[in-house]
Symmetry: C2
Subunit: 174 residues, 2 copies
Amino acid sequence: MPLEELLEANKAFVQGREARALQHLPARRLVVLTCMDCRLSGFLAEALGLRPGDAVVLRNAGARLTQDVLRSLVVAVYAQSVNEIAVVGHRDCGMARLSVGELTTAMSKAGVSREALPNEDLASWLGVCANPEQSVREAVATIRASQVLPKGLVVYGLLLDEVTGELTVIERAA
Amino acid sequence: MPLEELLEANKAFVQGREARALQHLPARRLVVLTCMDCRLSGFLAEALGLRPGDAVVLRNAGARLTQDVLRSLVVAVYAQSVNEIAVVGHRDCGMARLSVGELTTAMSKAGVSREALPNEDLASWLGVCANPEQSVREAVATIRASQVLPKGLVVYGLLLDEVTGELTVIERAA
């Protein structure tokens, strides 16, 4: 996508709306951890009924609970008054069908050596998961067991259907 | 935000639209790396002129180039045919004014010991940055220098004004 095209789209967006200052603290005191999947962009917030300013949103490959997510949760909870975390996986997650072999073949074709990646189990490093539901359960359990986050944090897990937009509850708040 | 309220909003969303299946590969072959800030949710995709299905989106505290982001970029580039990366910081980023002292005080009040966090420079672990523009430049430089990503990847850096929605170019593609 050429940068100039993106800047043109941005110009039209800016001209078509009034400037509006929102509070930097999330109004609903919520963090949503979800996947980077392209189908959720411009869709997930709407499907959850969230408006700009309502919730902090974290996204990575597979909505995995990584060190980076933990770091971001620490900032959200202790510096932005968040008291609730929703882990939102989605049904057709690429991390459940990622082929490590195909990925390393693509790397090799692009002239990048396998040795450039960490010398450990690659499926594990990449965050491949058995299925999205299991992945949501794991993330919820890891957040609940974290020594770094306070007791009393409300944590729940959901699964989004990226076709219908429907949410299914996987884990209710304990 | 009570889960039941979120599920009610979701029900209304699902009933108010037709189910629509999109391709799982991003149509614009673009990754956007941006901040978790609550004001960008339901706003950033629109400001960039991106529709659902157009771009993979990564979000963390400060749009920092972490190991988790690198992992996610590897998946996006080698398994999802992405060939372009936009780092999008924003003007009023909380990571440029985060007080480590206030954060650890909030932790302590919540009954969590400082020792629960990694035993290293906390500002660095948290990803505190001098200013958002500098942070965008660092992320762009780190992506360009990465041994893991292919040569020829188009990488640029932008800064979003969260009030007007206007983008400023910080780094053009090399």
